[in-house]
Amino acid sequence: MKQPENTVHLISISRIRAKKGCEISEITLRGVVRETTEESFRSYLAQAGERSPLLLVNFAELDYINSTGLGILLEQSRSQEQRGGWLRIVSPSQTAAMILNLSGVADVLRVSETVDTVLEDLSRAA
């Protein structure tokens, strides 16, 4: 089995304007979160989280995340909640979804299939 490379790349940080002027920050990452990339992951999340209390983390191209990475994700979610917002995960790859489920993180953070699903949820909640 070919192992994924040992890097995490920031693909994009963008703003999504939802209904009622609410703005969501979306970060898309590619690669793996493990000992060699944990600090980059932490810094990318913090950067995206600063833009809005509502943070979407797109894991469609994330191939792996270790326990420290999960901890960083939860810590960032706490920081978003302290600002009255949330952190949600969107479109996780098969492997990322499996690790999020196994670790119980998917029971605590909302995991959505698409950005549209999140926007629909927000409209319904409004």
């Binding site: 270790n66 420290t68 939860l74 499996m98 670790s103």
Partner: protein
């Protein structure tokens, strides 16, 4: 069906340091490749063993470089194999009442889920002090549990 018995015992001596887990993954992948596991099952084994090794490096060797870790792979029977890590670190003390993964997630805990992740994936996780000094961590994996673990944790997002 996996035929683990046909694979061979293998071992490799690694040294602690920044490249240790990179080497561990490379060798583990070499051990696991002939087993013909589902790629997600392989990922789970790598996750569990990496967590064990990360604990040795961080808590055992306190991130000091150049200390030995012996990684061994043993096929046990047709359905099970064992991976062990032996170190020369001070005797490890395991937490008496470990929190569940769900509780750790609820608490937004940044640390402390490595051992529970190992237990979630492996059939057994055992720690034994070595005679002179150090610890041996032994993880037993079975095809059945790995398949179940993949299946149970592959549910779709909402």
């Amino acid at each position: 069906m996996a035929r683990f018995r046909d694979s061979h015992h293998s071992s490799i001596r690694l040294l602690s340091g920044p490249q240790c887990l990179v080497g561990l993954r490379r060798h583990l992948t070499r051990f696991l490749d002939p087993l013909d596991l589902d790629s997600r099952a392989t990922t789970l084994v790598l996750l569990a063993v990496e967590e064990a090794a990360a604990n040795v490096l961080e808590h055992g060797y306190r991130l000091r470089a150049g200390r030995p870790i012996l990684l061994e792979f043993h096929p046990l029977d047709e359905e099970r194999f064992e991976i062990s890590l032996a170190d020369r670190a001070p005797r490890a003390v395991l937490p008496a009442n470990a929190a569940s993964l769900r509780d750790l997630a609820e608490e937004r805990s940044e640390r402390g889920r490595g051992l529970e992740l190992m237990r979630a994936v492996a059939d057994s996780v055992e720690h034994a002090p070595r005679e002179e000094s150090g610890n041996t961590w032994t993880l037993v994996f079975s095809a059945q549990r790995l398949d179940r673990c993949v299946e149970e944790n592959s549910r779709e997002a909402a």
